[in-house]
Amino acid sequence: MSNRAENGAPLLEVRDLVVHHGQLRALSGISLTVCPGEVYALIGANGAGKSTLLRTIAGLHHPTSGSVTYDGKDVTGLRPEKRASAGIVMVPEGRRLFPSLSLEENLKVGASYARKGPWDISRVYELFPWMKERRTQKTAQMSGGEQQSVAIGRALVANPRMLLLDELSLGLAPVIVQRIYAMLPQVLSSGITVLLVEQDVSQALRVATRLQCLLEGRTMLEGTPAEVTREQVEAAYFGVTDGSHA
């Protein structure tokens, strides 16, 4: 905890975020702080509010109350496209590629409003070498893992500072998930900070430098993977309270 401050000011700060889907309260006062260089993982069961939190940070949901601060500026009222060009870029759940566009066109759309930075289409082809010779193909014919890689590439070419990854492992075989997460070190070394949502807890614990566990829109547990025990994570995940984290 103490050495977080050495990384300088937080890149992303979420404070007391309350989000409703119609009548339903999806998030009840979530706070989180992501510092530069971190891999911050949000874990939790289905319906815990992880994706809602990520989508709110990306600007796709409007919070009822609370604030989102990015790079020292309040972005709570900013439209999603403005956040993207400011450097908060999300890989959405379910990939959401453009089916009538080719692989390369998908990447070009991602680069349309890019910030200046180390990532461009050719660097994405270096990260995922298979892409280059299939760049003219439509992405609908590709496998789930390949599509996920394209979605990551589309986000990277925008040169994010804050990369939001929503359920990368969804619907993919474990071996494919491993392969996709293998890109993470290269992403981090290019100076990108990562906030990810992951249902696969052991995967999240492997890559995260910090994590938060949500349950029914509330924070159950927060810390570094080293600080939390397996039992605490289980208790937070399923909502079995043992008193200390209630």
């Binding site: 496209e81 060009s85 870029v89 959405p92 959401r96 453009f98 009538s100 759309v109």
Partner: protein, 291 residues
């Protein structure tokens, strides 16, 4: 030979129909807006042309780019204001809003220009000039020019959609608005550009129509909108070349119908339209590369 002549005339008319239709198809493909005022926009363009020529005495052909530009700007502004507001409120609202727009335009035109029909005189020498193939087939140069213009416009549009940044963004937004936002694209701006193109193309069509025949305040819904719809449905939504095919089939059907019996002209066109709707409701061409 009469039949060959009818088919050729119908084919040439089909080019104009495709010009009427491509903007309608584009706006539906990208914004999911069924623009019931689409035909009236062609009429508006024609009347703007009439006005500009009356005031500035510029040659009719020169007025075309001016009108197209004005209509494109109008398209962007209307999309960013009224149409965007309607889209935000739901797809059915866009039907009501564009229907209302159509009524307002037609009544406004009748108020200002009366119900008389007007032509955009290009000069008799040009509009009546023709050449003959054999004794039965006579092709008006101007009709041929409009057909060629239609093909050129569609080619240009195709090229724009597949090879430019904004063309790509239009297709991306048509596919997934939210994902495009996540890539930094303001979909409302992209919608505006698509509307500008749609208004611009229908303006070309309206001006051409005013030169070939005449325009009057109500032809927008009486004929243009219906022909445009029929062309899109016959050809298949989402494909520019489908729209051209649809326009040509409609034009040829009308010409053949008219050849059999002059009062069957319209009937034949709609008969083909109905047959396609029943047999192949998705249109003759399947979903193509463009929205």
């Amino acid at each position: 030979m009469q039949w060959v002549n009818a088919i050729i005339q119908g084919l040439l008319t089909g080019g104009l129909y495709a010009l009427f239709a491509c903007g309608l198809s584009l706006m539906f493909g990208v914004m999911k807006v069924v623009n019931l005022a689409h035909g009236d926009l062609a009429t508006v363009a024609g009347y703007i042309g009439v006005g500009i020529i009356a005031i500035s005495h510029m040659p009719v052909l020169w007025s075309i780019p001016v009108v197209v530009l004005l209509m494109a700007v109008l398209g962007y502004v209307m999309q960013r204001s009224i149409l965007q507001a309607a889209i935000t409120r739901g797809e059915l609202t866009t039907l009501i809003v564009t229907f209302g727009l159509s009524i307002i335009i037609e009544n406004g035109l009748q108020q200002f220009f009366k119900a008389d029909s007007r032509g955009l005189g290009v000069g008799d020498s040009f509009i009546t000039a023709s050449f003959s193939i054999g004794s039965q087939i006579t092709i008006a140069w101007f009709n041929l020019a409009v057909f060629v213009l239609a093909v050129v416009v569609l080619l240009g549009l195709q090229q724009f959609m597949s090879a430019t940044r904004y063309g790509r963004l239009i297709r991306a937004v048509a596919d997934d608005r939210e994902a495009a936002q996540l890539s930094g694209a303001d979909y409302r701006h992209v919608f505006g550009i698509a509307a500008a193109i749609a208004f611009g193309t229908v303006a070309i069509a309206g001006m051409c129509d005013g030169m070939i025949t005449t325009i009057s305040p109500t032809i927008g819904t009486d004929t243009i909108l219906l022909f445009a719809f029929a062309s899109v449905v016959i050809g298949g939504l989402g494909s520019l070349w489908g729209t051209l095919l649809g326009g040509v089939i409609l034009g040829v059907a009308q010409a053949i119908g008219g050849q059999i019996n002059p009062s069957w002209e319209q009937l034949a066109g709609y008969a083909v339209f109905l047959v396609v709707l029943v047999v192949r409701p998705e249109g003759l061409t399947s979903k193509g590369a463009t929205a």
